[in-house]
Symmetry: C7
Subunit: 239 residues, 7 copies
């Protein structure tokens, strides 16, 4: 009966493949991610830059970022999607990092941390009784093997990147990155490029500028938020 060959019949529960081998619930979660505010990650020899569109309303408490988080000294995360889902995963990543430090007396590899989070995400795509996490996360930082950026997918897949983006402005940003990214960017050039990408993505969607930036330099291996003035300077340069 032809009704069964349509998405509708296979997308109510995560534990069912469609006849052509698709997992609709994971695709719908990705839909949520694809509508979210854009985040960008760029890696160069001097370190890693994470940047995010941020929506801070007038009376909100502006002290913190709600899109970029410090996970451990040496790496952070930029999120797109359900912020409550993301918080749960970021908290888990923080615990994994602490636990690694206690057990092995050294900072966790960023890929190891990423994989642990992705294993949780995978579980929620295969077992009944829940829904997939509606979030993609860009983990970025510097560990003993150098600077790294990984992006995660609601399916639990992750990939390593020299530069990438997630969210509504992804296509715009990737086009700029493919053209302007070079492996030998200086740290300042990388910061400027990250901000420029978001400025263009916001312009493309006719939204006002509202950007937060975090950096993890190779020298210090310390996650730090750029001061708002510094970001504003880069925004001016980019426009």
């Amino acid at each position: 009966m032809s009704v069964f060959r349509q998405p509708g019949a296979y997308d109510h529960t995560i534990t069912v493949f469609s006849p052509d081998g698709r997992l609709f619930q994971v695709e719908y979660a990705m839909e949520l991610v694809n509508r979210g505010a854009t985040v960008v990650g760029i890696e160069c020899k001097e370190g890693v830059v994470l940047a995010a569109e941020e929506n801070v309303e007038p009376l909100e408490d502006a002290r913190d970022s709600w899109k970029i988080f410090r996970v451990d000294n040496h790496f952070g995360a930029a999120i797109v999607g359900l912020s409550s889902d993301a918080r749960v995963l970021i908290d888990q990543a923080r615990m994994d990092a602490q636990s690694n430090k206690l057990t092995y007396d050294e900072p966790i590899d960023i890929e190891v941390a990423t994989e642990k989070i992705c294993n949780i995400q995978q579980t929620y795509t295969q077992h009944g009784g829940g829904r997939p996490y509606g979030v993609s996360i860009l983990f970025g930082g510097v560990d003993s093997t150098g600077p790294h950026i990984f992006d995660t997918h609601p399916s639990g897949t992750y990939r390593g990147h020299k530069a990438t983006a997630i969210g509504a402005g992804r296509e715009t940003v990737l086009a700029i990155l493919k053209e302007q990214y070079r492996a030998d960017l200086s740290f300042d050039e990388a910061k400027a490029l990250a901000v420029k990408c978001l400025v263009k993505a916001l312009q493309a969607r006719q939204l006002p500028n509202r950007i937060k930036v975090a950096v993890i330099p190779t020298t210090t291996k310390k996650f730090e938020m750029l001061p708002d003035q510094a970001v504003e300077g880069l925004v001016k340069e980019a426009t």
Copy 2:
């Protein structure tokens, strides 16, 4: 089949995303919150004010508030939605606060307390076998890092605010707050503004005045309900 592309087909269970990545059960819980009696929170240098519309019938035992609760010495909570759901979460927050005091010998950070409650709320949006909590809570008080107000969403998301409102009068109140809130309000001005917001919200919906107010001054870091006479004075000023 087009029927599957409509809300109806994805909103019976919390563990399913709709094709456009929405969680309908969470939105329906928020609907309950949006119909509830308004609560307001305002923060200034001298402390935090929580105010709530309250419906006390003639023969009800008027000794207590049913909308504003003391959680620990240094912070309280104002609730909108199912009061039984709220009570369960407030009780949990009280236990978290006690537990923090016993473990670390210092008052719990208000954001930490808020996040713990939001993690519970998030869980009920992702796992089957239950429904989301039908409540939003305004946590407000003063901890070692100063005065704070956080509002929670049935999805488990929370945000920090200098001043905000939840419930049926939210739009009315936010409009007033955006116009009249200043970071340098005195404590008395903050109390007056909070009461004024609720008076206007009640007028907008043509309801009689019925307001409760709690304050947590920065100096004492002690939650206390304003006496009914004090509130009545502020109400008179506002009308």
Copy 3:
């Protein structure tokens, strides 16, 4: 599809909000309560009165009341709804009271006892695998903070009252109470008023008189059933 916007589609399971944020199963349980025999609670300085319509058939064992129960020395409960559900909750309240006495060596606060029962009721409105308790309970008695009456709702909500009623005659009784209740009623006046309320409620539904009354005086803090003769005297006065 419009069928999904109707009650029918959201009322089969407790763990689902309707699009307008309602919990139909809880409302249906309340329907059962609203059809039940009326109970009344009245508090005055000298103590608390609990009264109930009772249906004792000729050959039933008339020694006990099936509507009013002693929970602990200092408080009792009057029930409306499924008597088997109520019994389970009353038994739990008795155990909570015993446990409190053993742990703290003092009688349990009536509000604490009420809240514990309401937490159980709330759980059954949020988690799958069961139905809500089909019962409302009027807890009344005298503890260290004076006389108290609390009524519970199948949702797990409770409120404190000076005087209130549950069940089929609720509207009739509340109308009388609003008119005739005064905080300075003597104990005898309170007993007479309670009985009068039930007499009028039974007349309104054209039912014969069949009333049980329990009192908890402030002086003794001891729950006791009024003898049938005493009740009959009050009934005569009231008619």
Copy 4:
């Protein structure tokens, strides 16, 4: 859609109230009980009589009753409904009685034993994963507070009676009991009345006589089956 307002839509699972607050599965279980063979219980000062219609086929092993059971020395049970369900509950009551004797060194109160069984029955009306017990039980006997008869309902409700009946002949028997029962019946009169009730109930349904009788005298507090000859004598008297 009007289909949802009909019994059909709410009666497939026990954990759902109908819109008017009914539990259909419990009503259907009671339907089974109402079609079962009649049992009668009569209490007088000298003791308690339990009597039951019994269907013994020619080649059945006639040594035992399949409707009346000894639970402990001092009380028995007469069952109506699914005999396998009843057996499980009777076995549980026997264990409760043994356990009480071991723990407190005295026979269990018959009401306590009844309530324990009813609590099990209540559980099966509120939690998913099972069906209600399809049985009503008449517990009757003599304990330290005198003779008692309690009947249980598939909902887990129970009531005390001086004389009562369950099953297909209930209406016929109750009519006789209301007319002929007196609190000062002698034991022999009570036995004769019990048998007479069943004889009339069988005649009303045009069925042959087949009756078993158990008695628990106040003096001995010992459950014993009346010999078949004695019953036959009473049957002859009654016809």
Copy 5:
């Protein structure tokens, strides 16, 4: 909607009563039993005879019976229905018998063993997550209280019999038994009657003769299969 008043709507799951208080899944399991090969049990003063139609194909290993099983020295079982379900229950009965011997140092009462199996069968008619056992078992043997035969029903009900039958030929056999069974049959007469019953039942359904017989004499209290030649002799007598 009238569809809900039909069997179809109540017979998919065991945990649901139909509106007239029936359990359809149990009835369907009984349907399976009613189509199975006939077994007969006859008790006399000298012992118990169990006999069964048996379908042994040419190349099957003919050493064992697949319908009659030794449970313990003193009793056996004849089964009708799903043989895999039966095997699981027979194995359990064997363990119960062993366990009784180890604990009390005496052979288990046959009724006790029967009840234990029936309690398992009852559980599967009340709890979800499974189906009823599709088998009826005739337990027969000699214990300290003499010879006994009990038959079990998929509902978990059992009854004691002097002589009875289960399966497709039940009606035919019961007709013969009612006519020809006498309590004072000799053991040889009982064996001949059991075989005769099956011969007639097979003739009624125009099937070839294929019969196995087990006996448990009162003197030895030892279960033993009759040799095939002995059975053939009895078959010849019967035809």
Copy 6:
């Protein structure tokens, strides 16, 4: 409604009997078995022969058989159906055999091993949450009571045979066995007959010859695969 009287309505879940007492899921699993490649087992005084059609593609690793497995020294298994299901059961049988050796210091009886596997299979036909095992297994070998062959059914039923077959060619093979099997076959005749059966079964379905054979001689009680050359010789004889 007549739709409920059709297979469709009762065959989606294993825990439901159809109105005529059938278990459709078990029948569907048997359907899978009936389409599988044929296996044959033949027992004679000198030992047991297991033979199987085998599909070895050109580039497959030909060292092992994928249809016949050694379970313990003294017996093996030939499978038809889902090979992954079979592997799980064969592994379990190997563990049961090891465990028996460790506990009793003697090889496990082949019937005991067969029954243990069948008990697992039965469980999956009665409890929800899974599907039946889609496999039938021919266990064959020599234990302390001589040579044995047992075949299992997805329902968990098993039977002993002197010679039998499972799979797509079953009817063809049984016809040959009924004609040509004799209890006094020599071991070489038994091997030749087993191969001949499969050759004819393959011809009937116009498939090329591809046969594996295992033997367990009574003298050695050791399972061994016949060398491919030996099998080829027997195939030539048979064609």
Copy 7:
């Protein structure tokens, strides 16, 4: 009703056989595998070659392969399907290998490792509450019994091969292998053949060349990725 005889009605849940004994969810998972990028495995006397199409985008971190993984020193795995599902299984295989080394002080047999993974995959095809793993894995390497290649199926089945392929180009590759594979290939010839197979498969689907190769030589029994230059040389040879 004919609708029940169509795929649609049996393919929503893994725990149900279709009337013709098929498991649709497993077939749908295989559909996902059949659309995935091709992997090839070739075994010769000198070792094993694993090769995979790989999609490395310009800005991806190119240091690692996302299709071929080292499992232990002596063997690796090439995956087709959901990479998150594969990662979970590969991690499990790594743990199994470590565990084997710790317990037995020797490398795990590759077939043992394969079977352990397949047992996990089988479980997810038989028990409810989850979906099958959407991945096929080619395990290849050299253990104490020589070089081995095994491929796994979402059903949990595995087979040994001298040379094989999985994924979208499987038919193309198998055609080449059947023609050109010889057991006496040199290691260099095997590498060239593996690359050639993928080049042809990519050409057939008009895709650019993007190939990764891993080898496990018999001499070293050490898994190593071929350098990209070496692969490029082989690609040039092949085109």
